[in-house]
Symmetry: C2
Subunit: 116 residues, 2 copies
């Protein structure tokens, strides 16, 4: 398949899906399939349980991530598509770029290359 | 969101998701979220339960559909994206076209307009 990507993600107890972030050019959609996680965004905290979904439209600066605060694994499927234009981490001084690099919010580079 | 579409579908006991079909230009991906359904395609029958997924790449002539043969509702999420170029129903003399019409496999039109 080439029209969108799909990832199956398992979060261990205590794990985060990523730093809280948003994408400039990519829509994301998530379906919880087992266990539960806490979706954290600018509007607060929202428990997601199996069968529940969340949508993250591109260029919506409401950064999001999932935290597994339970004592068992949780699993979800996340779909993404669009233009890989980079985006921003909400809670730390870091952006990810279209070129696959990390920069500070003032544009100065970090040394690390982005894994993708 | 504009990069892909997402549908939440509930199938009543006995219901089919559609006639068995495939798309010329659109990838589809499905996540079962509750209950169970039987995925029927050219390779046979496959029971899908909550948390299980299936991918239907565009232009793969292996037509598929879901049948709820259980005695309770089942629910799934289906993601689609790509070019709406039409496609074919595997088991009946019908194709759906990019123009939103139905035609026989020899190209002669049916009167009905496609709902989308």
């Amino acid at each position: 398949m080439t029209d969108f990507s799909v990832s199956h993600v398992v979060l261990k107890p205590g794990a985060w899906s990523s730093q809280r972030h948003w994408h400039i050019g990519e829509d994301e959609f998530l379906v919880m399939i087992s266990g539960e996680a806490v979706l954290v965004d600018e509007t607060g905290e929202h428990v997601l349980r199996a069968g529940e979904c969340a949508a993250f439209p591109k260029n919506d600066r409401n950064g999001h991530h999932l935290q597994n605060r339970s004592d068992t694994d949780c699993a979800f499927v996340v779909v993404g598509a669009g233009e890989e234009l980079g985006g921003e981490y909400s809670d730390i001084d870091m952006c990810f770029t279209a070129a696959g690099t990390y920069v500070r919010k003032d544009g100065t580079p970090y040394a690390a290359k982005r894994a993708r």
